[in-house]
Amino acid sequence: MAFNLHRMPTVYVKLNPVFLHVFTELVEKLASHVSLQLSVPMDGPELDDEDMLAAWQEGLIETVRGDCDQLLHLLRDSGLGERPVKLGEDEAIRVLRACSAVRLKIQQRFLLKFSDEVLETIGLDISTLSPELQRVYGCYVFLAEMQETLVEQLESPEV
């Protein structure tokens, strides 16, 4: 897997199409979970203000749903893996946030038994994992690399 991003907003991902297909299917499934149950704890509004709580939660769900749609569009319909793909800044931000939401969901559903240290350094030995976990962890790493590259592009000073 290799990323070759020139300056924003062009994204070029070199990835075996089989892996891309597997990761896309996995993201589709996880995105539906993310839309039903947020990946982050909701904290902030007064707990006795039901209207505020509902608006807060609905707002976050609407945002993450839109973010995941953007990520899925990038994975399914943009030609990613075949040619460079142009992303606007807003689109890149949505993809970044969706990657985080999906990665958090992966951690919560599949990787809880692994220590924070191992996950922070992306240091799992993939050969020791079951086939299902290999797919999931591969997707986790793939999304992390995409995030790393997008952040680098978004934060690099204009030429």
Partner: protein, 97 residues
């Protein structure tokens, strides 16, 4: 027999105002979000420069939490909401001293 009002249940009529303690925006560590991503989020949400954003990110990473901002509740809520949109574990708390 008439009932006399219980003075203990009377609504408070004092006009004395107490200065409210500031509200704090706290970010907690998680093992998933990348350091570079967190720094970028702090820069974008709070407008912090690279050094300050880095400092807060390291505090979150090493201490488990960092207070990113403090002030009025409404503004703090807005920051917490934005951070949660970015998928960070953000909390709102009132300063105790």
């Amino acid at each position: 027999m008439g009932q006399s009002a219980n003075p203990l249940t009377l609504p408070e009529t004092s006009t004395e105002t107490q200065e409210e303690m500031p509200w704090q925006v706290v970010v907690l560590n998680d093992p998933v979000n990348l350091m570079s991503y967190v720094v970028m989020v702090f820069r974008r949400v709070f407008g912090y420069d690279e050094a300050r954003a880095q400092r807060h990110m390291l505090e979150v990473h090493e201490e488990g939490r960092s207070i990113l901002w403090s002030g009025e509740r409404e503004k703090a809520e807005n920051f917490v909401y934005q951070l949660q949109e970015w998928q960070l574990n953000a909390r709102l708390q009132q300063a105790t001293e």
